[in-house]
């Protein structure tokens, strides 16, 4: 696709994406109070992987003292992110611990005991100076600050901002999932900072405009952002209300709404000259640039009827979930399930021992009567309701059939990997099939097979190399044997040195026999006459070493 320099990327009239749902928002639950800063707690658990990409490498040892904001894990690869200590204190352990991951598996975490001194590492805020810095320098800054996308996927922001040809920055303040209000509250309370962050991103990617998209069920946020935009007055920003349809906050869906075009399959939004960032990401970048503060805190919504005082809290990354819950008044008696994320895309936590991470935008504790429990599901009746709501225009029922029969070829042919796991299909399915779970299983299994295939390709290469080496060695050995025999024939009398030579020959023969054994029957057929006789002769010799 070419670059349309003169065409406006963003339509004046909104478009729409296919499918989608109108959901009950339940947002009032947590917007009653301003964002509450959460006081520090005793222990923090910082997972080394809180982002997409390679796991970070720990920079500290057990017993080290760390300062607040100190980098304690460095990016493990190009696509990776740094992690920082949320408080000053001591590293008490580096070990596997429950993390908020859908698998429920533990992962490597750094445990830090707070000394409550709140000692920061040395900070050198850049401030407005960033205007004089190159994109490259700013990206380094963002990367070192460990900033990842806070819209859900936690993709390292600096990597995302290397995209070329981006004219338009879209700030995603849609927040389409029910219950979640952290972006809403952020925009209401810190509109200026969000804009400042967006300005920095705009500077990095050399954008010409920035559209802030907000669902029309958040009038306060729209008003706040609008006011800030007017105060800014540069004309760089524009606030755009979008209809409340789940999942309009999905990157691809939002792009479709705003530009009327679809990101080509398998390509990036940059193809349409846009870049999407969550408002909280912009805010985090603002903090990094103006306060030299890495991403060690975020706003999270703690909500649901299972929570005594639903509200938004500003919380340090690594804070155990149970402390957050306690801060919000604890569980109510009806509390039934603890969910990280929203009710559509979140996943339940096996315990509240796990820490909150960078991507944790919501802690949802649902009560028995508001949660829908998956019963044993009925077979798919192919009603097609799921097809109607799928925003990716997939055939969820077909994916389900293939996934459940482990037909990995077909499931991929039907574009499984284009599924954004939004859950719309499962929401409407009259048979109550946990569709997304099927897709997730299929996706992880296919990825696993991909890894296995790579491993087996490697093994094949190594095996072939191994075979070739054996072959070569055999040839060389035969050559040597032949020469030796000739020599022996020449010097029939000189028997002194023979014993040594015989010993060497025997050793070689022994090795030969071993290999033959390893290669089993096949060897017998290919071995030539001399080798065979050698092998027979050497049988006796090899007896001993194998049975010590």
């Amino acid at each position: 696709m070419s670059i349309h320099d003169d065409k406006p990327t963003i339509l004046r009239e909104l478009s729409h994406f296919d499918g989608g749902l109108v959901l009950d928002g339940h947002k009032d639950l947590s917007t009653g109070k301003p964002v509450q800063p959460m006081p520090a707690v005793k222990q923090y658990i910082v997972p080394l992987q809180q982002h997409i990409g390679a796991i970070s490498e720990p920079l500290v040892k057990v017993g080290d003292r760390v300062l607040k904001g100190q980098m304690i894990g460095r990016p493990g690869d190009l696509v990776s992110a740094a992690v920082h200590s949320p408080v000053s204190g001591t590293v008490t352990a580096i070990e596997e611990h429950a993390v908020p991951h859908i698998s429920g598996l533990p992962d490597l975490c750094i445990f830090i005991e707070n000394d409550f001194k709140d000692e920061w590492v040395k900070r050198e805020p850049l401030g407005d100076e960033y205007n004089n810095r190159s994109s490259h320098q700013l990206r380094n800054l963002i990367r070192d600050a460990g900033i990842v996308g806070l819209g859900g996927a936690a993709f390292p922001a600096a990597v995302k901002q290397t995209e070329m040809n981006v004219h338009t920055l879209i700030l995603n303040g849609v927040e389409c999932e029910p219950y979640i209000t952290c972006d809403d509250m952020l925009m209401r309370e810190q509109a200026e900072q969000v804009l400042a962050g967006a300005d920095i991103i705009g500077h990095v990617i050399k954008a010409q405009e920035c559209v802030i998209a907000i669902e029309d069920n958040k009038p306060e946020a729209i008003a706040a952002m609008q006011a800030a935009v007017e105060r800014d007055g540069t004309g760089f920003f524009r606030v755009q209300a979008v209809p409340t349809i789940y999942p309009s906050g999905g990157e691809k869906q939002l792009i479709k709404i705003l530009t009327g075009r679809e990101v080509p399959k398998g390509r990036l939004p940059a193809e349409l000259n846009v870049l999407v960032h969550n408002v909280a990401t912009a805010h985090a970048i603002h903090r990094a640039v103006y306060h030299d503060e890495p991403l060690i805190s975020r706003i999270a919504t703690v909500t649901g009827q299972g929570i005594a005082q639903p509200q938004n809290i500003e919380v340090l990354v690594g804070t155990p979930v149970k402390d957050c819950v306690e801060f919000c008044g604890g569980y109510t008696p009806q509390a039934d399930e603890l969910i990280m994320g929203g009710p559509m895309m979140g996943f339940s936590l096996p315990s509240d021992d796990t820490p909150l991470v960078k991507a944790s935008n919501c802690l949802l504790v649902m009560a028995k009567d508001e949660i829908h429990y998956q019963q044993q599901h009925m077979p798919c009746i192919r009603c097609g309701h799921c097809v109607e709501v799928c925003p990716a225009r997939l055939l969820p029922q077909q994916l389900y059939w293939y996934a459940s029969s482990k037909n990995n070829d077909r499931v991929q042919e039907f574009d499984l990997f284009d599924c954004i796991e939004c859950g719309c299909c499962a929401y409407v399915c009259p048979s109550d099939i946990p569709l997304v779970q099927y897709y997730r299983a299929a996706k992880t299994v296919i990825r696993q097979q991909e890894r296995e295939r790579k491993a087996s390709d490697l093994a094949r290469q190594r095996h072939e190399a191994h075979q070739a080496r054996l072959e070569r060695q055999k040839r060389e050995r035969e050559e040597r044997l032949r020469k030796k025999r000739e020599m022996l024939k020449d010097k029939e009398k000189g028997g002194e040195k023979d014993s040594k030579k015989a010993a060497i020959a025997a050793a070689i023969a022994r090795a030969q026999a071993k290999k033959a054994e390893a290669r089993k029957a096949q060897a017998g057929a290919t071995e030539d006459k001399t080798a065979e006789t050698e092998q027979e002769q050497s049988q006796d010799n090899t007896e001993k070493p194998t049975n010590p």
């Binding site: 077979p379 059939w401 293939y402 459940s404 029969s405 037909n407 077909r410």
Partner: protein, 193 residues
């Protein structure tokens, strides 16, 4: 023209070779597990069937009939078919590896597809001329292809179904073919003869 259209309609729908006339059932059952292979088989069979229908007609008309050797028909026809198939296979194998990848494994199977010999023999029985033989062969092949492809798509669905154990596999496939044949009876009487 109507005559040829009627031949086509008759062989494809009303007297479908597989479901009504019971010819070509082995490949119908054997290569219908996957849609792609079914399509490959359909293409290969269409080619061979049409070609051998015409070749057999020529052999019958210009060699057997003049020499009064009608009773050698079966032998001659099958020989012609075997050679057409074998030759096609070798040529395709060498000249178009891509096509061979798609059709290759099916070609040898076609020799023993009853439909091929059946068409040749029926052409004689029905006293078809050259063009009629051509259309008859082609129609038979299209009819075969149509139900083969439909059947394979169905089978891909059935394989996921919760079929009782004893019926899994070929059993339910045959029953499905039975219901297809049931449905094809709806075309009975379309062509009043």
């Amino acid at each position: 023209m109507t005559e040829y259209a009627l031949i086509l309609l008759g062989t494809v729908l009303v007297n479908n070779f597989v479901l009504v006339k019971f010819l070509g059932l082995c490949p119908f059952m054997g290569v219908s597990r996957k849609l792609e292979t079914a399509i490959g088989m359909a293409l290969a069979t269409t080619f061979v069937l049409t070609l051998s229908s015409v070749s057999a007609y020529l052999v019958n008309e210009y060699i057997l009939a003049p020499l009064g050797l009608e009773y050698m028909r079966t032998i001659m026809f099958i020989l012609v078919i075997a050679v057409v198939v074998q030759f096609t296979e070798m040529v395709v194998h060498k000249t178009s590896p891509l096509l061979y990848n798609i059709l290759g494994i099916f070609l040898p199977l076609i020799t023993t597809n009853c439909a091929v010999l059946g068409v040749a023999l029926l052409n004689v029985q029905e006293k078809h001329g050259f063009l009629q033989s051509l259309f008859y062969g082609f129609g038979a092949a299209v009819g075969f292809s149509l139900v083969l492809i439909l059947f394979s798509a169905l089978r891909e669905r059935i394989i996921v179904a919760d079929v009782p154990e004893a019926f899994q596999g070929t059993s339910i496939a045959l029953i499905t073919a039975g219901i297809m044949s049931l449905a094809f009876m709806g075309f009975a009487g379309l062509i009043k003869v």
